[in-house]
Amino acid sequence: MSAWVRSAAWSTGLAAMLAVVVVVSAAIGPVRIPPAEVVKAVLNALVVPVGIETGSPSAGSLSVSGVSLAYRSPFAFPVEGVHQQIVVGVRLPRILLAALVGFALAAAGTVMQGFFRNPMADPSIIGVSSGAAVGAVAFIVFPVALSTTVAFPLVGAVDVGLSYGAGVSLFAFVGALIAAFGVYAIATQHGRTPVATLLLAGVAVQTFLGAVISYLQLQAGESLRRIVAWLMGHLSGASWSEVAVTAAVVPPLFILLLVYTRDLNVMLLGEEEAQGLGIEVERTKRILLGASALITAAGVAFAGVIGFVGLIVPHMLRLVVGPDHRVLLPTAALAGSSFLVAADTVARSGTAELPVGIVTAAVGAPFFIYLLMSREVHEL
């Protein structure tokens, strides 16, 4: 059976599992909603574009400069209005953000473990998480002007100011990319980036940024609590706009990574071998690193540093589906989604909400230890 067929079969199964986890998660909360009701509410919220209108926007259309995209809702199941609002307005954005972040972190973790041929590699290994943390913490401690009006020609004055949450996310995203690029630049000499140097540069930069974070925490004063919450990872207060931004960034990068899975397989033989088999090694490394850094940055920008998803989910799936990245990458990403949605459901369903990072570590580590003890893992 071809690897892609196997990949599609596994992915279909895991996507179905993710759908179930999402529905169950949306049913759980202070207000219990029957799963059937959840499904109906979600279907009611679906819209399909039906055509393009010009002229004044009517109800049920999205309008940009007088051209409207008409859409309609194909389903109209009878759902209690409060339930519809809770599922679609409150729970679903948070669940979908969890799914996207889990997807991104597990995908990046899979690629990093293969890239570094190292079982301890995870998405933060090239400094992405530390960089994001520095950016976010810096913004929390020294929030810059939150509202700026810029005059654009044609459009006129537009408020490009950041909401507080968007500011944290933007700074986290930019911090992540700067850190990743710094690590890459440190490790690159004469156009070559040895993986071992990259790994060590990542460790060094993470240590340095850790010091910066500690110093900022000392200076934080009253915002320390927010810093701690961000550093532990959180999905509370997720909005549809955050979901939309993440959904716009993560899937294209995932597809780019998927395109390079065969190269990643060959790179496991060693870089010289990969080159001998026709892979442009340095270019492939740059693409894999860049896409992984971006997808991780997109994940941590809104959710903070959520550990363990990118480390253990790829391991678990490797035990199940084997090391072929054509199968491993999509399955690990989907499993990461399910894992983080489930973990976040646990995090928010207690009496006091926990940071989801605590749950992923507390649930993930024992399960990982169980896997290690029940199956002898000699190799990756």
Partner: protein, 452 residues
């Protein structure tokens, strides 16, 4: 197979051309001025001491290291202008050792050899399946194709990597120690397989540390030593005692493998180049190379002598080989025709006086041998393994040429300037010292020494 138009070059260019290649690492130059071709249908062996740059040259051809200067041409095109993919359709390589941490199945590793011929999302077509199957059959990998690569032995892994390179179906093949961790059976099978691949019109370049194997299978041998090409050409011409000795800083005897007829190289520790004029030096083996590689003593500097050997059988042959390796010029006789001693001395280019076995030695033969002994600085008389002397008369097959009459070699020994009797258990050091004891070339009064 690929239909890449850029690979449709003329069939006359050598598949691999190395032109004036120089490579250096941060620690200094590794090789410089390396120049050789690998033609279609030929198997070229790259031999040389450890650290001579065999792997470096192979890596430069693969394109994994950038040379300081010089050019690599693959099938007529400068490799520097080719993409990794184009190179990978012309040259496949079998690495010396590889890290395979993830537990892919053996079959999957071989299938990766098809990567240069596949688009990103292509599945394996019938051509790919055939190439993989043939490669696994040829290397004997099929039997364990479904095992994990991490669960096979080192030798099996090496064959898997060879299968992967074969599945690549390139016109040229680079092999870095392809037989290193193989058992004798698979080493020979691999040698034969590579030979067949070359005979089929492809080209192969193999770094080989086993000189005998190189001599047996290669059309040409390139000896890398001391930062460049030390010698190059057909094995019989290149793998001489002199070339091997100076390339490897060893003393070598090049004979002929009785089973295969190809040159067989035996290397000895370089005792002969210890300074013999310093008697205070303890008679232990010390490395002669004190980092002074530019000023290698040539054979004549090594205090070479004309040595005549009298004896028969394996012990005499072994002693003769050791003396040849030390740089001495040998002659032998009278030796029964077909004796191993005659073969060794003849292989070394020495004169041998033989006589048909089991017949009386005619006086002219005895005189010829006596003349050789007379010319020699020293005549070595090799005792038989049982302790008796090879010159004892009346023994079947002993010293002389038969069991009839007095031993003809008594006369030969009588004409010698200086005679040293050597027992079967004399050490190399004792042997070499005895030959050089007087430290001069002039005729000496006949002495009769005996070393055991």
């Amino acid at each position: 197979m690929s239909s890449d138009p850029s690979s449709d070059t003329s069939d006359t260019d050598p598949l691999i051309e190395v032109r004036d290649l120089s490579v250096s690492f941060e620690t200094g130059p590794v090789v410089s001025g390396v120049d050789f071709d690998v033609e279609r249908g030929s198997l070229v062996g790259l031999v040389g001491p450890n650290g001579a740059g065999k792997t470096t040259v192979i890596r430069a051809i693969k394109g994994t290291i950038t040379p300081d200067s010089g050019e690599i041409r693959l099938d007529g095109d400068d490799a520097a202008d080719l993409s990794a993919r184009e190179v990978s359709r012309r040259v496949a390589s079998v690495p010396q050792a590889t890290e395979l941490a993830f537990d892919f199945r053996v079959r999957h590793v071989v299938e990766m050899g098809r990567t240069p011929h596949l688009g990103r999302f292509d599945g394996h077509g019938p051509d790919d399946e055939r190439a993989v199957r043939e490669a696994m059959d040829a290397t004997g990998v099929t039997r364990f194709a479904d095992r994990s690569i991490t669960a096979v032995s080192g030798g099996e892994r090496q064959r898997v990597l060879l299968a992967r390179a074969l599945a690549q179906e390139t016109p040229a093949l680079l092999l870095d120690e392809p037989t290193e961790s193989l058992d004798v059976n698979h080493a020979v099978r691999t040698g034969k397989l590579i030979r067949e691949i070359a005979d089929g019109g492809r080209a192969a370049l193999a770094a080989i540390h086993d000189l005998d194997l190189a001599a047996r299978y290669c059309d040409e041998v390139v000896v890398l030593a001391k930062g460049g090409v030390h010698a190059a050409g057909p094995p019989a011409e290149v793998l001489t005692a002199d070339a091997v000795g100076s390339a490897f800083d060893a003393e070598a005897f090049v004979g002929r493998n009785p089973a295969t007829g190809s040159p067989a190289i035996t290397a000895f520790d370089a005792l002969a180049r210890d300074d013999p004029s310093d008697p205070s030096e303890p008679p232990v083996t010390v490395p002669s190379d004190d980092g002074d590689t530019t000023d290698e003593p040539s054979v004549t500097d090594r205090d070479a002598r004309r040595v005549h050997v009298v004896g028969t059988g394996r012990t005499a042959a072994r002693i003769a080989a050791r003396l040849v390796a030390a740089g001495h010029e040998l002659s032998a006789g009278v030796v029964p025709a077909g004796d191993v001693l005659a073969g060794v001395v003849a292989d070394a280019g020495g004169r041998v006086v033989t006589a048909p076995p089991f017949e009386s030695v005619v006086p002219s033969t005895r005189e010829a041998a006596g003349d050789l002994a007379g010319e020699a600085d020293v005549t070595i008389v090799v005792d038989r393994d049982d302790g008796s002397e090879g010159t004892e008369s009346g023994r079947t097959g002993s010293g002389g040429a038969g069991n009839k009459g007095p031993d003809p070699n008594e006369g030969v020994i009588a004409s010698a300037e200086r005679v040293v009797h050597v027992g079967a258990d004399a050490s190399e050091r004792q042997l070499l010292d005895a030959v050089r004891t007087d430290g001069s070339y002039g005729p000496e009064p006949s002495v009769d020494e005996r070393i055991e």
